[in-house]
Symmetry: C2
Amino acid sequence: MRLSRYFLPLLKETPTDAQIVSHQLMLRAGLVRQTSAGIYAWLPVGLRVLNKIADLVRREQDRAGAIELLMPTIQSADLWRQSGRYDAYGPEMLRFKDRHEREMLYGPTNEEMITALFRDSVRSYRDLPRTLYHIQWKFRDEVRPRFGVMRGREFLMKDAYSFDLDEAGGKVSYNAMFEAYLRTFAAMGLKAVPVRAPTGPIGGDMSHEFHILAETGESEIFYDSAIEDVDVTDPEAVSKLSSIYAMEAEEHEKVTNCPVPAERLLSRRGIEVGHIFFFGTKYSASMGLSVQGQDGKPVTPQMGSYGIGVSRLVGAVIEACHDEDGIIWPEAIAPFKVGLINLRSGDAACDVAADDLYAKLQHAGIETLYDDRDERGGAKFAGMDLIGIPWQLVVGPKGVSAGVVELKHRKTGERHELSVDAALEKLGG
Amino acid sequence: MRLSRYFLPLLKETPTDAQIVSHQLMLRAGLVRQTSAGIYAWLPVGLRVLNKIADLVRREQDRAGAIELLMPTIQSADLWRQSGRYDAYGPEMLRFKDRHEREMLYGPTNEEMITALFRDSVRSYRDLPRTLYHIQWKFRDEVRPRFGVMRGREFLMKDAYSFDLDEAGGKVSYNAMFEAYLRTFAAMGLKAVPVRAPTGPIGGDMSHEFHILAETGESEIFYDSAIEDVDVTDPEAVSKLSSIYAMEAEEHEKVTNCPVPAERLLSRRGIEVGHIFFFGTKYSASMGLSVQGQDGKPVTPQMGSYGIGVSRLVGAVIEACHDEDGIIWPEAIAPFKVGLINLRSGDAACDVAADDLYAKLQHAGIETLYDDRDERGGAKFAGMDLIGIPWQLVVGPKGVSAGVVELKHRKTGERHELSVDAALEKLGG
């Protein structure tokens, strides 16, 4: 993408209304703009990151055997009355009436709707087990939306729902999602700690939150350092991790006999980016979901639900991955892999060399943001650092004479001069 | 995808509440389920089609140089007061108050929001021209939602917005979108007729609707048969098509001296799937969008907006492409390319042969729905016909002994027996 034809409004000043670093950087790097309190438009670079995260989430959901569908954002109040949650849910639920005075709401989550869809579609034990998921915008009318997309009102969530014939099957489905979550966060280059969680208003028997570690994290978690030794690709990772102590501070304080020796008990700050629940028949029973079992008798399926905050992750990753110059995207979710800088736009030799290199990068399928604007080199470097593109390729007059380009790694700051061919090879072209 | 593990609830009966064939077929083939009046959940097969259409639309928008971003679904009433449309818009606008009693709405379109975003981001003539687009859910509170996704309340739309420094530039942008639309519908295997349209509530000087021809179409259009001779890949296609007569019946009736000779004037039924507008400074002027021109003086940009009904297209395509047995998907947007039928699940030789063929299709990257269920062959054939997958591959006991499979083309009904290798080659593996 040529920056001269793109839509990437950077801010020079740190916006005063943004309190946390991810919010500041998302505004400065032109990822989002607030359009109402807690509601954001995703500008082109921000959307690229959001889509990459959604795609990674989708890939691991699919790999775990979950099936994607898409439920609408608007739901009827009647649906929520079937589960009894309409009155129980607080003012975070955005409620309104349509033109015919029917009570509607903007879905904050989809347990009711998926239970109704499944109930009206399946009859037999042969239709189970199934895990269904969607990636859709939700709305929670937070009283004080803040921290940018980390606690916005309209947000993108992946929510999956499992249906099993018995509790043992339900736990298999739960563990499959647990594993998918470990893989998902690892694929993003993040360390996520699964924390045993109280089940809260969704109800149920078993629940884990997944926290990304970041010094600026909103919550404090206590965990056994043994967690850090577990390899998430180990087939036993889920069973190991779910037996190692990890709690949010609030829960940890209630524990009178913490089983972890003091020297192994770590305290770190974390950001919740995923939450999984097993809640048995809470919704299936209240909403009349039943299938015919293998013996001909009715069975009430066991359910779980599994959320990942897709838009929240964009902010959480930035909290975990930045420095004083800007964002440092993990390569798997970077908006572009390479930022190509023409140090002297307008200089014929530099223009030819940079255009040629851009063409080669495109031909090799390497996603490149090409700063071809008539701007000072310093502004171009600062821009690429701010946006956080993993690799910067610099074409300047000296290098062009010498037949070399400079390759800078955003994360380490390492710079190397090398030939165009060597640079392309290093970048996987 | 193995059907035994999928979520594809087919209906045997035609739902009595569905009046038009696309709605009936979308319900019967398990593409969607209504969750409230005019609001649908997209089941897995329906979502695959919706995503393929969105991807084709996106490809042609990108090719035309438009830049993707994503605006939120919920907007503030204040934004619409800036353009004066808040009071002008009818009860189709879903309005509500949030917990702080602020007036909000579910966006039916985004002229105001994109104008505000652009206004707050750009300063200079160097930032123009730009065409920005997003693919996002919209809501229009239709008084009588009907015809399934063809006139739903929550619907997916691609809407693009162009910003130019002068009217001539604005018309270049308009024509680039016109061409993108021709390419988009052609890529879906559809014949779309561009019809000169009144500009209506969006306002402006120039507008075209794009209609897909279908006998069951909602509107009648009159056009010069010369339209059918224009090749959409011709670089002159846009200028040719915009100078050939085509009108909706309502407008045609107002024309006193139709310039088309009677023998060339065709009347056909069509379904509107796209609509483009050029409206000059209507929004930029009212909302205070201005940039510094090359001569230092302020310029009020010229704008256009360009919509495609992505979810509506799913229904429209079915209206245009079906027979008495079900849907006939154009290959470019089919949910799967191949439907693999194991005629005798449970028969060891058939199971081995079908599993092996499925593995080969997957290895070749051919999207396949594999009916591996323990069902009669007749039900499997009927299901594949109903879902409308372009190619059916049939593995049966006789064929397995003879070393052949049967390949059926859904559209023509042609059947051939051929070797597995020949079938794979024919299917592009």
